[in-house]
Amino acid sequence: MSTMPVSPVSPASTSVPTPLVVSAAKARLWMGGALLFGLLAYYFIGVDQGAVSVFGGDMHIHEFVHDSRHLLGFPCH
């Protein structure tokens, strides 16, 4: 902490603004994986076994997360 170099660009560099740009192409594996995980979890917690269902008439997921589905604002039966 105390050995932080003083930069001419931002003199008060204890908190640095954000100049760096992350290339989406180079980070695509991690970014894509994170987005896929997020969308799948969103779908199964919020939507599945309601309007559409990947497990047909089964209602286990729907019934299990039932209360959170209501509270998070998703439409429910």
């Binding site: 931002s10 100049p19 760096l20 309007a51 209501h70 604002g73």
Partner: protein
């Protein structure tokens, strides 16, 4: 670097879900219990009416999980899962925003992205289709309701993205403050048009057919064939409490996410940025660090 940021997003999101669960278990669950009690009582009254009229009595579906499981474990898994999902996607958006939305401090950017997530995923769709407790929502309209709700989510997220882009375009000419206000105005107009076009839930054709014209699906009093009210409409105070706690829950979730993620992200980013500044490069690609 992107790996470290994303795992921190995931972690902060799961923590946010845990905090939201604690809140929900204490404050929201009693209200959900009241809503379910109302629903059971109403179903019983309806069954008695049907029996008296010689109509078939709807037995209702079997309970797969007990209320104890749903209100203690199910809601926890749901909220922590939702938090982790939001945290992972939030971290990706955060990474993409770095250096592309102006020179903003890492912790401030963490708050701004979380604010956009809260608004886009929950708050703006809520303005048109607010959260409903159990007992509100007709099973026969679940398909259009889900489609309409997700339409609002997609539109508000897309318009926030567009407004961010617009704000950046206008900033050189109007300055940051005025450009941000103009972009926000554009967002409000665009989402306002969508909200005006989309139907109210009570006006869905299945609802109009079964119940007549109403704004929402909130249950009205149940009357016997002579018109005497045999069971009241959904209690207004329970509805308010549920919707209020629903908002609190999401604000807590996104707030915890931002406050937990911000300092962690700053710790990851600081050395990277300092290296970039000392080497004089304004931009650094993730793969090099």
């Amino acid at each position: 670097m992107e790996k470290r940021i994303i795992t921190r997003g995931l972690l902060a999101g799961a923590l946010a879900g845990l905090v939201a669960f604690c809140f929900a278990r204490i404050f929201a669950e009693p209200v959900i219990g009241k809503a379910i009690a109302y629903e059971s009582g109403r179903d019983a009254a309806q069954a008695a009416l049907n029996q008296a009229a010689g109509l078939p009595v709807d037995s209702g579906g079997p309970d797969i999980f007990s209320r104890t499981v749903q209100s203690n474990i199910g809601i926890g898994v749901g909220l922590i899962g939702f938090g982790a999902a939001m945290g992972a996607m939030y971290a990706v958006v955060y990474l993409l925003c770095l250096g592309r939305v102006g020179r903003i401090q890492p912790k401030v950017l963490a708050l701004l992205v979380a604010g956009a997530g809260l608004a886009g995923i929950y708050l703006v769709p809520y303005l048109k289709y607010p959260a409903n407790p159990p007992a509100i929502g007709h099973p026969e309209t679940i398909k259009p309701r889900a489609a309409l709700y997700l339409t609002m989510v997609v539109c508000s997220l897309a318009f926030i993205l567009a407004a961010t882009w617009l704000g950046r375009r206008l900033a050189p000419r109007f300055g940051n403050w005025n450009a941000s206000l103009l972009a926000a105005l554009g967002f409000a107009v665009a989402i306002g048009i969508v909200m005006a076009i989309l139907p109210s839930l009570g006006e869905l054709s299945a609802n109009v057919h079964l119940y007549g014209h109403h704004a929402t699906e909130t249950p009205l009093p149940l009357a016997d064939p002579k018109g005497n009210i045999v069971y009241p409409g959904f209690p207004a105070d329970v509805l308010f409490s549920f919707r209020f706690y629903s908002i609190c829950n999401q604000v807590i979730l996104w707030g915890t996410l931002a406050l937990a993620f911000g300092p962690m992200a700053e710790r990851v980013l600081r050395p990277v940025m300092e290296r970039a500044e000392t080497t004089g490069g304004a931009g650094v690609t993730a793969a090099t660090v």
